[in-house]
Symmetry: C2
Subunit: 111 residues, 2 copies
């Protein structure tokens, strides 16, 4: 990829799009949990500190962005499962890259 001035605007735009999708406070945590399919209540317990309201909201946003799929089983009591879409799966390498950089960052910071 080039970095000349013509590409700067497009780079900006698309990097921002990515940040908007995964930059929310709980987004990466939710995506990580959904590396295996989980029910709503499981997610709630797996994310200490999140409220029901926030979990619902962030899941809806991820769903709207095509990252997460919501599977409703019409039964009593209700059962709803969440999983990554194929597009959501493509975020994994990005999360790994962010993990790698985070390691380096924390090392450098703690010196």
């Amino acid at each position: 990829m080039h970095l000349d001035s013509k590409n700067h605007a497009r780079l900006t735009c698309e990097v921002e799009s990515t940040i908007k999708v995964i930059g929310g406070r709980w987004k990466v945590l939710i995506i990580r949990e959904l590396m295996t399919v989980k029910r709503f209540g499981e997610l709630l317990r797996a994310l200490p500190g999140i409220t029901q309201k926030m979990l619902t909201q962030q899941l809806r946003e991820l769903e709207d962005d095509g990252i997460v799929r919501r599977q409703v089983y019409p039964q009593i009591p209700p059962k709803v499962e969440y999983e990554l879409t194929p597009l959501g799966e493509t975020l994994k390498p990005l999360l790994y890259a962010m993990h790698e950089w985070g390691v380096k960052y924390l090392q450098q910071k703690n010196q």
Copy 2:
């Protein structure tokens, strides 16, 4: 890298650290601008919509996180230059990866 349950906690923590550093509203835009050294006023003009207050604030945070270096030239009128630190430079591959994913995401969304 593995993704067994033992690694999940560490992955989370460090991915979140990365998001905290570059997840701010203007952070990636500022970092992109600083791929070449720039003065305060140049940044202000390069980022339409940002306020002086926000630019100062985000630059200070990036400085505290070791991403950006602030170079003051003690002269009248004042001259202050900002540039990426070596650690800041290491963010470039991550921005490129985010760019790539953003391209894919926007393509899929516009279909």
